[in-house]
C-alpha cells in the first residue's frame, strides 16, 4: 500500500498519540489498580479499542482522556467480574479490596494533575528491588514508550529475553507489594539516584555501545535524554537530575565527532570540534546553571536558617553527575584543545575523588594533571596508583603510564608499559594502536 493509504496514515497517527499518552495512561491506571503490570495491560486494551473504533468514529478531540477513560472502564469491568465470580482465589478478594480503597478516585482523577502519577511511575519502574537491567527495560517500556522489540534491538538482546525480563520485573513489583508512591525524606535521595543510574545506563548503552557494529546508537541516547528531560521537570529541585541531564546533553553534543568515516573511535582531544552540536552544548550549560542555582539557594537558606559558621561558607556540595557535567563543560567551552582549562578540570576531579573515591577517577585526574602541570607531576600520581591491586588488569593504567614515560623521553620503560597495556586490552583496534606505539618506542630508544 502507498504511504498515503488513509488506514496506514491513521494507524501512524494513533501510534504517535499512543507514544505521547501511554505513560500518563499507565500512571493513572497504576494508581487505581496498584498493579503496574495490570495497568499496562489495561492501557494496551484501550489502545486496541482505539485502533478498532477510531477508523469509524475519527480521532476524538481529546484522545488522551478517551484512552484513560476507556482503560478505567476496563478496570472497573474487570474488578466487577472478579467480584461476582466465586472468591476461591485470594487475589480476587484483594483486587476487590483495592477497588473499594480506590473507588473514590475513579470519578475524580480524570482532571487531576497527572504529574505526580508520572513521577510515581518513574520511581516504581526504577525501584532498587529490580536489577539494573530490568529497571532499564521497564523504564524504556513504561516511560519511554518503546516496544519490546525496540528495546531488544537497542540492547542487542533477543526479544523473548527482554519480554521475560519485563514480565518478571512486573511480577516482582506486584509480589513485593512495592508501593506506588513518591519516596519522602531520607529515602528520596537514594531513590533518585537509582533512577539516575538507570537513565545513565540507557544513555551509555547508546553512547558507547558495548557490543554490535555501531559504536554509537543515537536513538537510545535520545530516549535517555528525553527521560532525563522529563525527570528534570518532574523533580525540578533535584540538582543531580539537572547534573545528569547536563552531562548527557554535552556528551550527546559530540556524537557526530566521536567516530571517523570508517566507524573508528575518535578521542576527545582529536575530535573535530566543528562537529559538536551547539544546541545541545547550550542546553547542557543551561542545565548546569539550573543545578548550580538550586545549590546556591539551598546553601543561602541553610545559612540564614542556622548560624553563619565558616564551614557553611564553602560552596555547596556538588554531586557526582554535576561534577562530571562540569568537566564535560570545560571541554565544551574550549574552541580548541589548547584552550582547555586544565587546572580547573584538575580541581573538579579532586572534588570528584573526594566525593566518590575511585582509582579510575584518580587516573583520569592524573591525565588532567599531565595537561596542566606536565608529565612528571602526573607520573608520580600514576606510579602511586600502580600499587592499587584493583587496577591490576586495567589496561588504561599502563597505557597512561607509557604515554607519560614517552613524553619524558624514557622510551625503553614506555615500551614495556605499552606492551603490558596491549596485553590487557579486550579491544582489537586498541591493541593494534598500543603495539604500534610500543614499536615506535623501540625505534626511539635504539
Amino acid at each position: 500500500m502507498s504511504a498515503t493509504d488513509p488506514h496506514q496514515a491513521l494507524h501512524r497517527t494513533i501510534e504517535a498519540i499512543w507514544r505521547i499518552e501511554r505513560a500518563r495512561v499507565i500512571a493513572t491506571l497504576t494508581r487505581l489498580t496498584r498493579d503496574v503490570g495490570l495497568a499496562e495491560d489495561l492501557a494496551q486494551e484501550a489502545l486496541v479499542a482505539a485502533l478498532e473504533q477510531w477508523p469509524r468514529t475519527g480521532v476524538p478531540e481529546n484522545p488522551g482522556a478517551w484512552l484513560t477513560a476507556t482503560a478505567k472502564r476496563r478496570a472497573i469491568d474487570l474488578f466487577r467480574r472478579n467480584a461476582v465470580a466465586e472468591r476461591k482465589c485470594e487475589d480476587l478478594a484483594r483486587d476487590l479490596a483495592t477497588l473499594e480503597q480506590t473507588a473514590p478516585d475513579l470519578n475524580s482523577t480524570l482532571d487531576d494533575p497527572i504529574g505526580d502519577d508520572l513521577l510515581r511511575l518513574v520511581f516504581i519502574s526504577c525501584h532498587p528491588i529490580l536489577s539494573t537491567e530490568s529497571r532499564a527495560a521497564l523504564a524504556l517500556r513504561l516511560l519511554g514508550g518503546l516496544t519490546t522489540a525496540e528495546i531488544a534491538r537497542a540492547f542487542l538482546t533477543p526479544e523473548p529475553t527482554i519480554a521475560q525480563r519485563i514480565v518478571r520485573a512486573k511480577r516482582t513489583l506486584a509480589e513485593k507489594h512495592v508501593p506506588f508512591e513518591v519516596p519522602r525524606g531520607a529515602e528520596l535521595a537514594a531513590r533518585v539516584s537509582s533512577v539516575l543510574e538507570v537513565i545513565y545506563l540507557i544513555f551509555n548503552e547508546g553512547y558507547s555501545a558495548t557490543a554490535g557494529e555501531d559504536l554509537i546508537r543515537p536513538t537510545l541516547c535520545e530516549d535517555a535524554l528525553r527521560l532525563g528531560r522529563i525527570l528534570a521537570e518532574l523533580t525540578p529541585q533535584e540538582p543531580e537530575v539537572h547534573g545528569l541531564v547536563a552531562l548527557m546533553e554535552i556528551q550527546a553534543s559530540r556524537t557526530r565527532a566521536r567516530t571517523g568515516s570508517g566507524g573508528e573511535p575518535i578521542l576527545l582531544l582529536d575530535q573535530n570540534r566543528a562537529l559538536w552540536d551547539l544546541l545541545l552544548v547550550r542546553r547542557g550549560l543551561a542545565a548546569i546553571d539550573r543545578a548550580t542555582n538550586i545549590l546556591n539557594i539551598n546553601s543561602s537558606t541553610d545559612r540564614s536558617a542556622t548560624d553563619i559558621s565558616p564551614a557553611r561558607k564553602n560552596a555547596p556540595t556538588r554531586g557526582p553527575y554535576l561534577l562530571q557535567a562540569e568537566i564535560a563543560a570545560c571541554h565544551a567551552r574550549a574552541h580548541t584543545p589548547e584552550a582547555t582549562d586544565w587546572p580547573r578540570i584538575v580541581s573538579i576531579y579532586t572534588e570528584l575523588v573526594d566525593l566518590t573515591p575511585s582509582p579510575v577517577i584518580e587516573l583520569n585526574r592524573a591525565v588532567a594533571v599531565s595537561m596542566a602541570n606536565g608529565p612528571q607531576a602526573a607520573l608520580d600520581l600514576v606510579e602511586a596508583l600502580a600499587t592499587d591491586p584493583s587496577l591490576d588488569r586495567y589496561h588504561l593504567l599502563p597505557s597512561v603510564r607509557a604515554d607519560l614515560l614517552y613524553k619524558l623521553g624514557r622510551h625503553g620503560e614506555a615500551r614495556t608499559q605499552f606492551e603490558l597495556a596491549a596485553s590487557l586490552t579486550q579491544n582489537t583496534r586498541e591493541r593494534v594502536l598500543l603495539l604500534a606505539r610500543a614499536a615506535s618506542c623501540q625505534e626511539r630508544s635504539s
Partner: protein
Amino acid sequence: MRFMVIVKATPESEKEGALPDPQLLAEMGKFNEELIKAGVVLAMDGLHPSSKGARVKFSGKNRTIIDGPFTEAKELVAGFWIWQVKSLEEAIEWAKRCPNPHDSDSEIEIRQVFEMEDFAPVLTEEQIQHKVTKRAELPLQTANK
C-alpha cells in the same frame, strides 16, 4: 529526529508593537510547559514583526537590501520551536494540541531539520566537514562565559 515548527505571522501580529493577548499568552505558556514536561522542546523563540527586519535580495553578483515591513503576512515567520520527536506524525499530534497562536485564522508549518547523515548522498565527506566547520565558527554564545 528534529523538526522546526514554524508559527506563521498574521496581519495583526505584523502590526507595529503588536503584543499577543494575555489570555492567549497564558494558554501558550501552558502548552509550552506541556511540551517541556514531555521532553520534546530543544529550543523556541518568538520574532518581532517584520518591520524590525530586512531582506537581502540576490541577483547574480548584486545584493539589494530591502527594509521591512513586508507584505504577505501569512508567508512570514512569527516564531518557531525545535522539537525532538520520533516521527512527523508525533510532531503533528503535538502541533494539533497548540492553541491557535493568533486571534485570527493562522497556520503552523512543520519542517524536518537536516541531520548530517541526510547530506551524505549529495555531498562528499570533505564538503560536509567544510559545512560544519563554517557553522562551528559561530561564537559559542553562552558557552563562552
